[in-house]
């Protein structure tokens, strides 16, 4: 409830009184953290903040000899509010370096804004839309995390060749993030010879899937499902109630910890579901174990870090590493910082991360399968690490771009 000086200045200014900007102390650097701190996604925003704070703690709250001053920017998950928040950070709070935002459409909007402020450096949070970096990128927007299609790396191949699912139907929410995930799954799956005979696109917020479940074709080997949050819990429950027979394949958020942690009813139906994403709960690399141990000490933390904590942690770490190398000096408009960031190679809890020419991460991806632990709790067991996945999923860029933008009908292999 403490009233900040900034707010008082703000209110004073609003009355039309100009108060000169108080000189910032020389030995601090402001870092903006933009995430969804309001609305239904606040719980995700809070976890992403944990990730960012862990990175600041790693550096002892100081970078390049300057004290880190964290300025929070809050959106409600909509692109309009993300741009408003980032404008406040830049134009009112005087922040020159920002970590964020959290979700895909926000990322696209913030990238557009970044172009208008060339001396501000923005490092992604967890937004994972392809076109934030692939098409028409902004020179001052860096993404040390991977996109929604990269998160699927390894899954299409595994489904076809190891699980022998040759005919699949998809069920996904009807917007850009699931389009990207379906694309990431289907590109290798179709190439391997698989068929996606039917795609069900349901509006976001659909809670009653029973009719869709009944309309699933009978002759399919599996259903590939990309639903998030309560939509996913509802689908899984109803699929079980309907006595669903076909095995499931999950998107990166369909069977993550927030879903697996929900109580009881979905237990039987999700076990054995393969999925893929930027983290694996039981990754036994020492760096990941150390990260999880540190994470668990934080107040209100989840049982295991979400990909939001991981994404913000990695992006914030990258930013701080870059700042460290330029002595936290962005007085040149951030040019030196950006040059440093572009060539940065990081060792992270989830493996090596470097950037491509569009400043998008090349990083490891994790193929997992839902498994019951001895105490009955569910977790995503690591099956395979797909090393160093790039944004074009290993294809030459020209060929990849020819596949076109993701959408309801692209790709297609009925």
């Amino acid at each position: 409830m403490r009233m900040h000086r900034r707010a008082l200045i703000g209110l004073g200014l609003a009355a039309g009184v100009m108060i000169p900007q108080l000189a910032m102390a020389e030995d601090t650097i402001k870092i903006g953290v933009l995430a969804t701190f309001e609305g239904a996604f606040a719980i995700l925003g809070d976890d992403s903040m944990r990730g960012a704070l862990m990175a600041f703690d790693d550096f002892g709250g100081k970078v390049g000899g300057k004290k880190i001053e964290v300025v929070k920017g809050s959106s409600d998950g909509s692109p309009d509010s993300a741009v408003r928040a980032v404008r406040k950070l830049v134009e009112q709070d005087g922040v020159k370096v920002i970590v964020g935002p959290l979700s895909g459409d926000e990322g696209l909007a913030v990238k557009d804004y970044a172009k208008t402020k060339p001396d501000v450096t923005i490092v992604n949070g967890t937004s994972a839309a392809q076109d934030t970096t692939l098409r028409d990128p902004a020179p001052n927007f860096f993404r040390f995390s991977t996109d929604g299609a990269q998160w699927m790396a390894g899954l299409g191949d595994y489904a076809y060749n190891t699980k022998h699912y040759h005919t699949v139907a998809t069920l996904a929410e009807d917007y850009s993030f699931p389009y990207t995930q379906v694309f990431g799954f289907m590109a290798p799956f179709c190439k391997a010879g698989g068929h996606v005979v039917k795609k069900f696109w349901v509006p976001i917020g659909t809670k009653d899937f029973s009719s869709v479940i009944a309309a699933m074709p009978d002759n399919i080997d599996a259903i590939y499902v990309v639903l998030g949050g309560s939509d996913s819990v509802n689908f899984l429950t109803q699929y079980k109630q309907a006595g669903g027979q076909a095995p499931l394949i999950g998107g990166s958020v369909t069977v993550d910890q927030t879903i697996l942690g929900s109580k009881g009813k979905i237990h039987d139906v999700v076990i054995g579901t393969p999925s893929a994403g930027p983290i694996a709960d039981d990754n036994d690399s020492p760096a990941w174990k150390k990260f999880v141990a540190a994470y668990k000490k934080l107040p209100n933390a989840f049982p295991s870090p979400s990909l939001f904590a991981q994404g913000y942690y990695i992006n914030a770490t990258a930013l701080l590493t870059g700042l460290q190398k330029v002595n936290a000096d962005v007085s040149d408009g951030g040019g030196k910082l950006r040059a440093t960031l572009a060539s940065l190679v990081l060792e992270t809890p989830t493996g090596k991360v470097s950037l491509d020419k569009n400043r998008n991460a090349i990083a490891d991806n994790f193929l997992t399968e839902v498994t019951a632990a001895s105490d009955g709790t569910l977790y995503n067991k690591l099956i395979k690490v797909i090393p160093q996945v790039n944004q074009t999923l290993g294809m030459p860029e020209a060929e990849f771009l020819k596949l076109g933008s993701v959408g309801r009908d692209n790709p297609s292999c009925p």
Binding site: A40, G73, S74, S81, D105, S211, A214, T258
Partner: protein, 697 residues
């Protein structure tokens, strides 16, 4: 249906309808019984899919009926549009979850959901609504404030996690129904299995429905309720304590919402946002079925449930819009709803505060205007760029939006929640016909063509929205326009051909001319100021024009105005058209401000934001909306530094409630109350102004 009547003139209308129903029933029975031929399977995916979607539609209708019956009961008697009804649903569900978890008995949880919410409803009626009796608009605004605060507090307590209420094992699982869905190649028939619990929900809905019907039809309380629905003052005059009746009805209505919450939370799940979902469902159900009618709610729920489930399978893209289309069609054919009775509108239901007072503020461009104009003109010279655009210009834009609502609500007594929709239409038009960077549409028309076109489009759309909603009386407007706003949001989200779906349009170009980039802070601020000043002056002028006076006359006493010879509908629709021009201009500025437009720009939250701003600022004078906008934008921007972003909505909601309670005329009215106190020392003889009159009353 009308085709049948025409082609068979020997039948009476009633006989024709019977015939139609018999044929439909026979067709459905046939579809259920036979094993489908392949051509039918090809047409309707499969028998399993079709029969399942019918069953799901009917069982979902059961849930919708449970929620909507409480809503319609309360509305029928008290004309109270309870916009917090969805919050009651969600609260009941959360409480039911906690009790079920604590006791281990699901039925105890169900009972607790009902009982707890009945108490909440009772308290709301006794402590809140009774104080605002006879002022339906303020009651509705209070419910909106409660909904905003409740949603935020529930988010604080139960967070964004998804909850499911555990159903006991004897209700869980699936049962076999005697319906053959397919025949295997070996000749064995595949019987349909169906989740038992969904049938239980339907059963509960039928039991509750019959119970309510009996209560209303055959008990003394029911008699009082029926009498109250028809004529409240008569009931009161005949010696019945209406307050007791009101309290009982509100408790039952809220309790039903809580009951439905537990039942629905067991069938589906609980998460933030479900409150708005079930509120919208209830709105559509009662608008379609007829407000205040239990039978109507059942029919409405059936239509909406079936439309939703069948739409999801056979028309997935627009399934969610389908329910709203049903609503609009129902309104066009029967404005009072299927089972609703045409009501002779009694008192002007929606006049603000004291309807019979002369409620225009005297208009003259006095010194206050000159000082204000000077301050606004030199403001950019004093403020930083951030304050010029993000606070200054942004407040002006939202002020314009709220002004367009004020024109309707303040002078016309029509509270339209679809103003953001009108603005959104203009914003989308600018993105589609102008230039954007999405490689979709972007016809690149020059701005001097696009802007008038967009504004005209918005004005026409507004007139159409008006034409749909003014067919019904007063308070219904708020429900219908809210549903229209939701329908437009869903449509933009689902439609890619025109609106580019969930992503919308980005990189919307702002005009450059006379060597000026009009999105630069200074030019953009002055542009917004110019538009705002013009709209402000126009509304002021309008309020004293023949048209404006006629509009106010219609607001204050529609029947008398009609008797004098005014065309009520025509005037109201014209007002919507004018208001659409202002909202359209705001939409153009908004899309230039954001550089983008997407479904999030026009969602229900934004629609309500406009109302919140207008009410906080005050609906009596066109300056009110701008004051409200400045106030809300400042809080919105700096809440994160003051109370943290998390509880911003609680703050806004409480402020909103305080304003509605303390000063129905918003901040403007507050000033009106303070001014006479401050001016008591004045020796000049003064004619008591309206503000003083109100302060005394």
């Amino acid at each position: 249906m009308s085709l049948v009547e025409r082609s068979a003139p020997v039948l009476t209308g009633r006989q024709a309808w019977t015939l139609v129903w018999v044929l439909v029933a026979a067709l459905v029975a046939w579809l259920f019984i036979v094993v489908w031929p392949t051509w039918l399977d090809a047409l309707l995916i499969s028998k399993k899919a079709f029969i399942n979607s019918l069953f799901n539609g009917v069982t979902l209708a059961g849930l919708y009926f449970l929620v909507a019956s409480g809503f319609t009961l309360v509305f029928g008697l008290m004309r109270n549009v309870n916009l917090a009804h969805g919050s009651l649903y969600l609260l009941g569900a959360y409480l039911g979850y906690e009790v079920t978890e604590a006791t281990g008995f699901w039925l105890v949880g169900v009972a607790a959901g009902f009982a707890a919410l009945a108490v909440v409803g009772l308290l709301m009626q006794v402590f809140v609504f009774r104080r605002l009796e006879g002022d339906e608009l303020r009651q509705t605004l209070v419910t909106l404030g409660i909904a905003i605060v409740a949603a935020d507090l529930m988010l604080a307590i139960w967070t964004g996690v998804t909850y499911q209420i555990g159903v006991p094992t004897w209700l869980d699982g699936a049962i076999k129904l005697p319906i053959v869905t397919a025949v295997r190649s070996n000749g064995a028939a595949v019987m349909m299995t169906y989740p038992l619990y969904r049938l239980v929900v339907l059963g509960a809905a039928i039991v509750i429905g019959v119970g309510l019907w009996l209560m209303i039809g055959a008990t003394r309380v029911g008699m009082m309720i029926r009498a109250g629905v028809d004529d409240r003052s008569m009931l009161s005059a005949s010696g019945i304590n209406v307050h007791v009746v009101f309290a009982i009805v509100f408790a039952v209505g809220a309790g039903l919402a809580g009951f439905a919450g537990v039942v629905g939370g067991s069938a589906l799940s609980l998460a933030p946002g479900e409150d708005v979902r079930y509120l919208l469902a209830s709105l559509v159900v009662v608008i379609v079925g007829g407000m205040g009618s239990i039978t109507g709610a059942a029919i409405g729920a059936l239509l909406v449930g079936l439309a939703e489930q069948i739409g999801l399978v056979y028309l997935p893209t627009y399934g969610i819009v389908l329910t709203f289309i049903i609503m609009v069609v129902a309104l066009a054919i029967r404005p009072q709803g299927i089972m609703g009775r045409a009501r002779i509108s009694a008192a002007p239901v929606l006049a603000l505060d004291r309807p019979n007072q002369v409620s225009t503020v005297p208009v003259h461009f006095g010194p206050a205007h000159i000082v204000l104009a000077a301050a606004l003109l030199i403001y950019p010279l004093l403020a930083s760029n951030f304050f010029v655009t993000q606070i200054g210009a942004y407040s002006l834009i939202w002020g314009l939006l709220a002004l367009s609502m004020m024109l309707l609500a303040g002078y016309g007594g029509m509270v339209s929640l679809a103003q953001i929709t009108t603005a959104g239409i203009a914003a989308y038009a600018v993105a589609i016909f102008g230039t954007n960077n999405m490689n979709i549409h972007g016809f690149g028309w020059p701005f001097w063509v696009v802007v008038p076109f967009a504004v005209l489009l918005a004005a026409v759309a507004s007139a159409i929205i008006g034409a749909i909603s003014v067919r019904t009386e007063g308070i219904y407007t708020i429900m219908i326009t809210l549903a229209i706003a939701a329908a437009f949001f869903y449509f933009t989200q689902q439609n890619y051909a025109l609106f580019n779906g969930h992503s919308g349009f980005a990189g919307v170009a702002v005009p450059h001319f006379w060597g000026v980039n009009w999105r630069d802070p200074l030019p953009f601020y002055y542009l917004c100021l110019l538009v705002a000043a013009a709209a402000y002056a126009a509304v002021l002028y309008c309020s004293r024009s023949t048209f404006g006076l006629a509009l106010q006359a219609i607001r204050d006493n529609g029947r008398r105005a009609r008797a004098i010879g005014f065309d009520l509908t025509g005037h109201k629709i014209t007002a919507y058209f004018y208001s659409g021009i202002i909202a359209g201009l705001a939409g153009v500025l908004l899309v230039w401000f954001n550089g983008r437009v997407s479904p999030g720009t026009v969602d229900v939250g934004q629609a309500i934001n406009v109302l919140v701003i207008a009410v906080i600022g005050g609906l009596r004078h066109p300056i009110g909306p701008f004051i409200g906008a400045l106030f809300v934008v400042l809080i919105q921007t700096f809440a994160i530094d003051i109370v943290g972003a998390e509880r911003y909505n609680t703050l806004i909601g409480l402020l909103f409630l305080a304003i509605v309670f303390v000063s129905p005329d918003g901040l403007l009215g507050l000033w009106g109350k303070l001014k006479p106190l401050l001016a008591q020392q004045s020796v000049l003889p003064r004619v008591p102004g309206e503000a003083e009159l109100r302060a005394k009353s």
